[in-house]
Symmetry: C2
Subunit: 493 residues, 2 copies
């Protein structure tokens, strides 16, 4: 090969690349952004798995395809995907499409860098620091540390790992075998990631002591105290309490002040899983729900949920200023974190994490925040609370709807009681039959594509709907639609 002779470039020429991307962007705007957020369109286009496989022709083959075929594939992918930005998507703790956040995501993807060094991510290293500083300020901390993790589950795991490392720095090298049995505490309403994390981190799910919650779903501090005593009596060493601000199903806020008192008394690390509820800190009106959070050692907060920043966007925030994160996770790889660089290597944040390559998760949030300001985001939170309140009042007014409880957050939980069961609460099979209603309605709404609402059993309660009021584009009309549609779908039951 002569040194001046270029191999044919297979990456294609930039003109063709631009043409493709322009065409795809056109499809995205029409199908995902316009139709995908329009109430007059379906929220989903249900297909049975076997049929969908046929429609998508997923197989990867030897030969490549033409640009026309590729565009057709892009259209099909969007067509058969669920529109999570749609005003009738109430199914998860995230919903809605924020155009600024999406703009930030598109820029992130076009730059495709990794967050580990200032060298290759100068803008994002500084930006992450600033966004974390802002989130910490909302928690009530003027200093501290933090990092964006690939989701709240991993943020929670980080907290557990940091707490055990702080108490037993040896365990990084020597592992858990030489330690006494450890115990961590969380309420029965906690997110399942606490259990998953305990297993993954080698503690085992037995190390999770489940504290009672009251009928609203809030941790009972007296039972926490009791469980700590019991664990100690059994020879275990309590090291962490994970309180939840905004539980997954009921949207409950644990009483942080009382829990912080217990933690202080026993010298325990207080972690607050505010993956769902953290964004309430932006609202002057509602932030009292998290009173006491400033006493936490760590907080997990997912802007990809209530703030609609886009998956994944989860911050772990720490009060620590002793470089705990880096001491706990660092391994000083000399090929990446060279110490003889020409800039301040403290800017290379990559050794704070257990990942190596790490996506840029801060830009989408930063850009949205710049566009909205604290004020715009606060209005969104307040509006969501107002709409949830509106929905609750409507539920109370209408026949055949029964609230599970007065919500304190944006999870509105209720039963749809179909005509055939109304006034039949005394029948012995009432609860069993009521429990079968939500799955049937779910199937109907999904197959019609008219809306999506999650349901679940919970403790001794049979299946009920959980409507999550999170999409910033929602209006009262959407709430009305939701209830009317349930009535329509369930009138023959």
């Amino acid at each position: 090969m002569a040194d001046s002779e270029a191999l044919p470039s297979l990456a294609g020429d930039p003109v063709a690349a631009e043409a493709l991307l322009q065409a795809v962007f056109g499809v995205v705007v029409d199908e995902a952004i316009q139709k995908g957020t329009s109430a007059s369109q379906k929220v989903c286009e249900w297909k049975e798995p076997e049929e969908l496989k046929q429609l998508l022709d997923l197989e990867l083959r030897s030969q490549g395809e033409s640009q026309e075929q590729i565009l057709e594939r892009c259209r099909a992918v969007i067509r058969y995907s669920v529109k999570t930005g749609h005003p009738r998507f109430f199914n998860q703790l995230f919903s809605g499409l924020d155009p600024h956040a999406l703009a930030g995501r598109i820029i992130t993807e076009s730059l495709n860098t990794s967050q580990y060094t200032y060298e290759i991510a100068p803008v994002f290293v500084l930006m992450e620091e600033e966004v974390l500083r802002k989130l910490r300020a909302l928690v009530g901390w003027s200093s501290g540390d933090g990092i964006f993790c690939p989701g709240g589950s991993i943020s929670n795991m980080y907290a557990v790992n940091l707490a055990r490392y702080q108490r037993y720095p040896d365990c990084k090298q020597r592992g858990l075998r030489t330690l006494p049995p450890l115990a961590l505490f969380t309420s029965k309403e906690c997110h399942y990631s606490i259990q998953k994390g305990a297993a993954f981190l080698g503690l085992g799910t037995d190390s999770v002591r489940v504290v009672k919650a009251d009928e609203r779903g809030k941790m009972v501090p007296e039972d926490l105290e009791r469980q700590i005593g019991m664990a100690e009596a059994e020879g275990a060493v309590p090291f962490l309490v994970s309180a939840t601000s905004g539980t997954t199903v009921l949207g409950a806020f644990d009483p942080l002040e009382a829990i912080a008192d217990v933690c202080q008394r026993h010298g325990l690390w207080l972690h607050v899983d505010a993956a769902w509820g953290g964004s309430v800190l932006l609202s002057q009106t509602h932030r009292h729900l998290l009173d006491g959070i400033q006493r936490a050692d760590s907080v997990a907060w997912n802007p990809h949920k209530l703030l609609a920043a886009g998956l994944q966007c989860s911050a772990l925030l720490l009060q620590d200023t002793s470089n705990l994160l880096k001491r706990c996770h660092g391994s000083q790889a000399s090929y990446l974190f060279q110490q003889d660089k020409f800039y301040d290597v403290a800017l290379d944040t990559g050794d704070k994490v257990v990942q190596c390559g790490r996506r840029v998760d801060c830009l989408k949030l930063w850009l949205m925040w710049k566009a909205q300001g604290d004020q715009g985001l606060e209005r969104r939170i307040d509006q969501a609370f107002a709409l949830a309140r509106y929905l609750v009042e409507e539920i109370k007014k209408r026949e055949g709807l029964e609230l599970v409880m007065e919500p304190e957050f944006l999870n509105v939980c209720f039963w749809f009681v179909p005509p055939s069961l109304r006034g039949k609460q005394e029948r012995p099979d009432y609860h069993e039959r009521l429990s079968k209603v939500a799955p049937v309605l779910k199937e109907r709404m999904v197959k019609e594509g008219s809306m999506m609402i999650g349901y679940q059993p919970h403790g001794t309660r049979g299946n009920f709907f959980r409507v999550v009021v999170a999409n910033p584009a929602l209006t009262c009309a959407d709430m009305d639609f939701l209830l009317n549609e349930l009535e329509r779908l369930g009138q023959d039951l």
Copy 2:
């Protein structure tokens, strides 16, 4: 609030949203895609951190900003970011901008769903399954399991967790305390994520037994055998060997057949960390480097590296057909994985992972593969090998360049010996002085923005450059430029 009265929508109207996104997309095309991949533009625009903070005005304030200001911010973010798609970006194990993969990423972001249930990710649940099937077929498996993880480090951790769970299913519940000390084996050339993983999983870094590598960086099977014996003699229980296919610095491939023999003899789980080298399986010419990989129990493979799929894209592949992944990680959360759904709940793959929300990482790879076919991707790999070979031959021809070793992969490692040190190998301070050269050249290239190459010390060797030939758009001219530029930058040293 009257039930027909809508709250003002703060999500903005769709027309304004579209206008914003169109404008941002225009900026992305001009700045990130066109200029960002053009050899006539800078690969980076270096600024000192303090100056960059001023330029970016990162602070998040109370008031939101106008659309014009937001567009200016988008331009600034792109301007000061490193262009990892640029033909002069040789700094990491990923490089280049594949337009189809980027199209897949933009669609992913516009749909913003989570991969946990068929309910909200029907297309992507099926697509992930198909992509994993394809990757497994390239490994040589006609059945098995797998999942996309947030990076190769976490894929490696999964493998370790699965191996210990398979041997001691109890540890999920009871933790490591009741187990004998465990030992895992990997070579000194392994990626640091093995150490980080051992610490995170509670095993401790002491559980990682470091096996010798030969002068090419390949694990020495005889020393593996010896280390296993030693660990057993010390009372530890060996359970896993992590071999590396494509080491991070030298690009070495461990001898998998010989290592698999050892694993078979001792009943150990064989994990292959093919995060970097896995994509070589696509090349009929070069796949022999991974001979024996079909004997592994698990494989980690990052298409975000050599295939330029975009961060994050990392597959963990398993030979297992016993549902180990779900048994090991599952927690059967009833609010998400309801068993009374109207479709086959085996399609809800979310309980296979330790995450809850999980990004869609398969579409970008699938779309690129559809466009390229196996053949197109194979040509890319073969071309990268040819270009690396070209670069090596040029290095040998030129004065002042010294290869660290003949590479077998795409990591081309060499010293630039500046004029003042040429022919001075006998001087006592030669190595010390040579070691200082790469950091100086790195500073110069970054400040000029002409190219980016990583350097590192390695074992007893002082700092040398590691050029990674991965960008599919590279030509021989780029290789020539690289060497000429080094000579230009270092002529006065």
